[in-house]
Each structure stands twice: as C-alpha cells, then as structure tokens.
Amino acid sequence: MTDLASTDAAATGLTLAETDDSTARLHRNLFIAIAVALVIAPFVAYPVFVMKVLCFALFALAFNLLLGYGGLLSFGHAAYFGMASYVSAYTAKNWGLTPELAILFGTAVGAVLGLVFGALAIRRQGIYFAMITLALAQMVFFFSLQTPRFTGGEDGIQAVPRGKFLGLVSLADDRALYWLVAAIFMGGLLLIYRVIHSPFGQVCKAIRDNEPRAISLGYRANQYKLMVFVLSATLAGLAGATKAIVFQLASLTDVYWTMSGEVVLMTLVGGLGTVFGPIVGAIVIVAMQNYLATLGAWVTVVQGVIFVLCVLLFREGIVGVIAKAIKKPL
C-alpha cells in the first residue's frame, strides 16, 4: 500500500492544488458578483429594503462565524445586536455623534458585551452554553425594559438623526446612506471571509470538529472560543448599530429573544457553515417578512413551515445544497 501511495503522491498533490485554486477563483468571482449586485441593487429595488437585508445579512454572517466555524450555538445574539443598536441610536440622537462614530461606538459596546458574556458562557459546553447565552441576553432585555431613560422603554429611541457622514455628507437621502451601508456590509463580509481562512480560523475549525483533540495538541481551546465569540459579537454589534441609523430607530424588538431566533433561522435556511449561506438566508427571511406582511401574524406561521421544511428536506440550507451539488465549499 505504501508503494501505491507514493506513486499516487505527485498526481494527488497536483489535483489538490488545482481544487484549492479553482475554489479560490470561484469565491473571488462570487465576491465580484456580490459587489456588482450591491451597486445595481438600489436602482432596481427599494433602497431601505436592501439596507434592511444587508444589516440582517451581516448579523447572520456574524452568527454563522460563531456557530458554523466555532461550533458554538449562541441563543442570545440579540443582546449584541440590540445593545449596539441602542447605543448607536442614543449617541447619534443625544450626544449628536456623526453616524460613523455612533456606529463605531455601538459596535465597541457590542464587543465589550461579547467579551464579558463570552467569558462567562465558554466555561460550559453544548446546550448549557446556549442556555447561558440566552439567559444573559434576557438580562439585557430586562435591563432595556427597565431603563427607559436610556432605551425609551416600550417606545424605543425614535427619530434618530441620520446626520452627516464625517460631518460632511448628509445621509438623509436613502441612496446616500445606502453606499455607507453597502460598504459596511462588504467590509464585514470580507473580514469574516478572512477570519475563516486565517491560521486562527483553521484552529477554530479544528476545535469545532474535536475539542479534546485540539487541546491535546496544545491549543488552549477556551482562548480561541472567546476570541471567535468576541469577533462574532462585534460584527453583530456592527449590524445592529448600522440598523439603528438606517431605520432611525432602536427598540425592544432588537434585543428580544425572537431576534436571536430569527438569526438562527436565517443561518440555517441559507446554509450553516457556508460563507455565503447567511446572506441568502437573510434575503429569504427579510423578503418574506416584507412581501408577506399583508398576511399579518401568518408570517410567523409561514416562517415556521419553511423552517420545518428546511430541517426535513435540506439540512445543509440553500447554499449548502448548492455547494454539495458542485462539490465545492461556498
């Protein structure tokens, strides 16, 4: 068998390199396609709708980084999304921060919250980890409910000024704001892609696959888990902070557990553990909520049915199924 192996060696090495290259080419082309779509989108669709999709897509991408590549199921991602949304709205409205600073501020709060909650949650594994993230997120929800001076309570923070980008360019126009949101989304997507394909990302995937083994190789698994948790919370914060500026609103919805559930749904529908799946998932779910809005409460029922169908028929999600068909990671 060793003889056979060595004669095959050169050929296998070659095809291996070729597969890597063709995957990289495919991904590059997809990034170009996404960039082109981002440029065209505001001219063919309602810009606010596209911005909503982009914010939720970024949120789902951040969640997928943690679950799909870190193997950590958080049921409390609304905490980072929602708190960043409040901080961004509050600082833009009450401190008069420019939109980019308000977003940065909100994102930073998401990161700090992620660091604190992550440090507490990673001490437990599996379902206990998920329950702790949920409990901590619910604490954030009740904090938000009980501090109307900061969050506006049931009313939320309304009429958040979009302000002027860098104090120069007014973002009152949807198209103008769109370019900022598109840039934030693209930056977030590229960062996540890089994280997944970094030396750090390799270790995360190893820990996701087999944590005791990774530890026995000398990796301090908890440090990696905390790092990927903070990265995910930060990007979820970025999505929430941006959303507050887009809708000029931060409310209890953003920080409620249903928001945590929605991001799980988007990720699963699109394709868990795929780079591009959460984007597709976000488009599907947000489009459903928008275009089926006339159905009222039935939207939730339709969502539930789709979720059940997803789990029953294609567990890998939409993009996961495509990736399997073309035999390339997406």
Partner: protein
C-alpha cells in the same frame, strides 16, 4: 528521581463519589522505553490514563514529568511540554482535509498560538511539505485531499499518529491504539508504533495482550485501581496474582 525516569507518579489516587478508581499508584516510566499499562476491565487503566494526561484531576498524589511537577497543569500545557496523548476513539478533525489535520499540529509546534485572524491561510503553505511528508510516513498520501471523516477506521488511527508525530513529542501516551481494529491494521499500527518509538518514550494502555507482549519493554498490571505486578512480559504473565486477576474477571483479551 533517577536520571533515566521521564514520568513518575507517587500515590496517585482518584476517587469518584465513594468509589476509588485509582488507588495509590506509583508508576515510573523509563526514558526511551515502551511501557504498557494493562489490567482486566474496570482496573482503572483509563482513569489512570486520564489522570496522566490531565483530562482528570487527581484526588491525591503527584505526577512528575522530566523533573517537573505537572500534577496541577492543564491538558493543553502538558502537550506544550512534549507529553502528547492519543484517544481511544479515533481523534481526527473530520471536516478538515487529511493534510490540514496534520498541519494543525505543525501549526501549533512551529507558530505557537494562532490568534492572527487577519492573516491569510496562505501563510500556512510553508508547512504543507512537512505535513505531506508526515502523511506519507503513515502511508496515507493517496488520501491527502480527502476529509478525515471519509477515511476508514484504521486509516483514521494512522492519521491520528501522523498528527501526533507532527508535534515531535518527547513522550506519547497511547490510549488503546489497537481498539476496534482488524488483524491487518493491528500489524500495521504495531509496526508504526515500533518505528516511532526510536527516540521517544511511549506509555500505552492496551487490551490486546499479544501486541503488549511483542511491543513493550515493561508492563504494569493494574487491578482494582492498584498496581498488581510490574516487569517484562515473561515475568508478569507468570505471576499467579496476574493470572488470577484476569481469570477472576473473565479475561481481558476481548474488546469492549
């Protein structure tokens, strides 16, 4: 501690709620030897193994590795000291490629920690050649591009060994390396263990007594959490207490 002892324990004890799994074990492993830990089912081998690899914390007693007390160290830290364990169930990273499996270990040894999430994985390409050589050494070159999950059981074990060797450990702790293997695989892995033992110390827990007989320089027999006998195979296999312990428990040859 004598110069030629690499790992020793004294009075090593582990109690689980009212039950003493390992009871006052004094073990001494000579540098460069292949040392086997055997015993009938329930003798405390696996618990003892988990204590040595720090996956369990001892109730009492101490563990000294290379003159350093590692009783309170964490599992990741002892790996960094050159004491690396294997697992009873094949421990690979199923969704990563065969090459990446080995490279993950090389990555740890050569770069230390990898918190650089901003750098491209192309920076790991320089490790590929060495990883491929290690994969070749265990006869898996034709499977280089497959994910580890796609390999057969015996090949997963071989991959696991290649991954462990990538750390160039001074001492290996093997947890039943032959568990669940067919005869052909057993011979291949036994040959591999002999090959890698050249300038290393190996301590293994193993059920397959013929493997133990042919591979090990020294054998410690555990029964009911205590050391029953110690010596080479000829000595311990004739020890009446050992024979009695094995027969009394219905034999230890079988697999789980």
């Amino acid at each position: 501690m004598p110069e030629d002892t690499i790992l020793s324990t004294s009075g090593l004890t582990k109690e689980f709620a009212g039950f003493t799994a390992v009871n006052g074990v004094d073990l001494s492993v000579r540098r460069g030897s292949i040392h086997a830990l055997i015993g009938p089912n329930g003798a405390g081998k696996t618990t003892c193994f988990n204590l040595l690899t720090k996956f369990l914390a001892p109730t009492r007693g101490s563990i000294v590795y290379n003159g350093r007390d590692i009783t309170r160290e964490k599992p990741a830290e002892i790996a960094r000291l050159g004491l690396v364990r294997s697992f009873q169930i094949s421990a690979v990273f199923p969704q990563l490629s065969v090459l990446t499996n080995v490279r993950i270990a090389l990555q740890r040894r050569k770069r230390g920690d990898s918190f650089d999430f901003w750098r491209s994985e192309r920076s790991l390409k320089e490790l590929d050649a060495e990883a491929a050589a290690l994969v070749d050494a265990v006869g898996l070159t034709s499977f280089l591009g497959l994910t580890a999950g796609e390999l057969s059981y015996g090949r997963k074990r071989a991959l696991e060994i290649a991954t462990t060797l990538a750390l160039d450990p001074e001492m290996l702790l093997l947890d039943e390396p032959m568990a669940g293997m067919g005869r052909e695989d057993v011979e291949r892995i036994a040959a591999l263990i002999r090959k890698i033992s050249a300038n290393r110390t190996i301590l293994m827990v193993e059920h397959n007594l013929s493997v133990v007989a042919s591979l090990s320089d020294r054998i410690t027999v555990l029964a009911r959490g205590q050391v029953l006998a110690e010596g080479d195979y000829a000595t311990v296999s004739k020890d009446p207490r050992v024979v009695e312990a094995y027969i009394g428990s219905g034999g230890g040859h079988g697999h789980h």
